[in-house]
């Protein structure tokens, strides 16, 4: 088992290299970070040239990647372009833990920006994922057991509608109902944007009430999809011969479900969840944008649109690493759920 884990982690190293090369080339080819740097004024051509020499943007793309990876403190840079090198580079490179400085948010490193945002995103996404998993399982299993009953039909119809609605619609509709109209009707209403009311401060109660609507919107859509999946998995499992055997032994319905069916039905569900969890780190771009949540999703989209390669690379590499680790964890959970899977 330990050997298996070590082998998988070693295999991940070349994989992460390839991923980083591909993302880097795509990002560096997609736009010019200097274009928006002057704010409303146009940057003077000589300033642009100087900036691009400082940032290494004048170098060929493979060199830029090398600088990103191992830094450029061993290279002399000719900042004023007079033929004599003036200074050494400042970057240490990713391999030495330096993801570079943000090009947009001057004076901050990419890692500082990510560190600011990651806790906000996790505060929102972890409870959301727990709620989603719990209710998908409950709703899916219930509806499988009462297949074609009225409740099942209602759940199926409801989840079909929920799954078909785009998240931005759900988000805006929930705001309209629970914030705008509830206030109009004199009912207790929910806040719409941000993490807390600046007048009150970042208290637990504030953050919790601000979380309700974003979590509600994300859960509604995800539970609709997941519960359908759980339902069909459960239906497949409860029609198996070994479930009949379990009933023939005189076990109660609850024992059959929890002791015999769930472990079998969980295997494909674990796959799905294992694919989803790493993306929790990336935040929910649309939800965070609509609800003004200062999380990773907004950081990503703000910096991507301004071609801030160091920050975007940082976020994407973080997610890639999380994907690799989660896939490994998924495989380990498989082995625990299904004894037929061996790791040698």
């Amino acid at each position: 088992m330990v050997r298996y884990i070590i082998r998988r982690l070693l295999q991940a190293i070349p994989l992460l290299f390839i991923i980083s090369i591909m993302i880097f080339i795509l990002l560096q080819s997609s736009g010019d970070p200097l274009a928006t740097m002057g704010g409303r004024r146009t940057t003077r051509p000589e300033d642009r040239a100087r900036l691009s020499r400082i940032m290494g943007l004048d170098q060929p793309i493979y060199l830029q990647y090398v600088y990103w990876l191992i830094g450029n403190d061993w290279v002399q840079i000719d900042v004023d372009n007079d033929g004599t090198p003036d200074t050494y580079g400042q970057r240490k490179g990713v391999l030495r833990g330096d993801f570079g400085n943000s090009l947009v948010n001057r004076g901050k490193t990419a890692l500082e920006l990510i560190n600011e945002r990651l806790p906000n995103t996790l505060v929102l996404m972890i409870p959301a994922e727990i709620i989603i998993l719990f209710f998908s399982l409950v709703v899916g299993i219930y509806s499988a057991l009462r297949q074609y009953s009225l409740t099942d039909q209602l759940i199926t119809t409801g989840s079909f509608i929920g799954f078909s609605m785009p998240i931005f619609f759900v988000a805006l509709a929930s705001m309209y109902i629970f914030a705008v109209n509830f206030r109009k009707w004199g009912l207790p209403y929910l806040p719409t944007v941000g993490m807390f009311d600046p007048k009150v401060g970042k208290t637990f109660g504030q953050v919790a009430t601000h979380m309700i609507l974003p979590i509600f919107s994300m859960s509604l859509v995800s539970i609709s999809g997941y519960s359908r999946f759980v339902r069909s998995q459960m239906l497949e499992v409860i029609s198996q011969d070994y479930i009949r055997t379990a009933y023939a032994k005189g076990l109660s319905e609850r024992m059959v479900l929890i002791g015999h069916a769930l472990k079998n039905a969980a295997i494909p569900f674990v796959t799905l969840v294992g694919i989803d969890i790493p993306f929790l780190l990336g935040g929910a771009v649309i939800t965070e944008t609509i609800f003004g949540w200062p999380g990773m999703g907004r950081l990503f989209i703000d910096h991507l649109t301004r071609y801030d390669t160091p920050v975007v690379m940082g976020i994407l590499m973080l997610i890639s690493l999380a994907v690799v680790i989660c896939q490994l964890l998924t495989d380990i959970v498989y082995g625990w759920l299904d004894p037929r899977i061996r790791y040698n």
Binding site: Y148, A248, G250, K263, N264, L337, P339
Partner: protein, 328 residues
Amino acid sequence: MGALLEVKNLKVQFNTLEGVVQAVNGVSFIVEKGKTLGIVGESGCGKSVTVLSVMRLIAEPPGKISSGEVLFEGKDLLKIDKIHMQNIRGQEIAMVFQDPMTSLNPVLTIGKQISEAIIVHQHVSNEEAFKQTVNLLELVGIPQAEARYNDFPHQFSGGMRQRVMIAMGLSCNPSLLIADEPTTSLDVTIQAQIVELTKSLQSKFGMSVIWITHDLGVIAEIADRVIVMYAGYIVEEADVFSIFENPVHPYTLSLLKSLPRVDSRRYERLAIIPGSPPDCIHMPAGCPFMVRCGFAIERCGVENPLLEIVEDDHKAACWVDVKNGRAE
């Protein structure tokens, strides 16, 4: 000895998209204490549905037990509540299923799968259940039983898995063991072992057995009485000697003819029964076997014969006296 199980006029149907499937059409039989009842018939004749109805393991919907009584020690199992039925399943009536490959849960150890029934019905501690399970595994002939307690089904061969199923069935010392084609998916030598094992366990514990099969050879080995089923009807019922020596129904006769024999000539082809069983959604008006029957007369197409006593304890459902070649 008295009757342990008495099934009266059992009718089971399934509602499907194509129509209502009449799977079991008024089946009655008795299982005596300590005796073995064999049920024979080809695939889809209602053998399994009959015994699953006894256990109330028919999924409703789509299935439905539309009429009948299942008297087990005098109680009608079709009328008692769910909890009561759960206590009977596994404890009073146990079942061994056809395919040991799919009938065991692949993700649980066999020890767990056997001991959970013991814990549920006998309310014993885990240690006691473990001991009993190991004893059962030894009883059904699994070597190194204690070491194999924590093994999973895929680590066993087919025959061993069926032994595990039997151990599971015996775990609470039931008075009736229902074996639904337990040897069908096993090769012949293993089949013989399983039959021998069941017989020896039966004489040890004095339980009754219902043994379902389409293999008449196995029936000859194990059964005291035999029921022959066709299209959801019992077409012949007799003790095992009469069935083999003195079959009355044309279907039984054809079944026996299609049995390979050790003393037959080498290049002789086995007899086959032409055609296929009737569609149980659109049942013919008369005898369901008529179209495949060599003895059919006009009356067979109009009226379905009832199961009637032919002699002593021998019943058959046929208008024709097959032996003497004339209509009754």
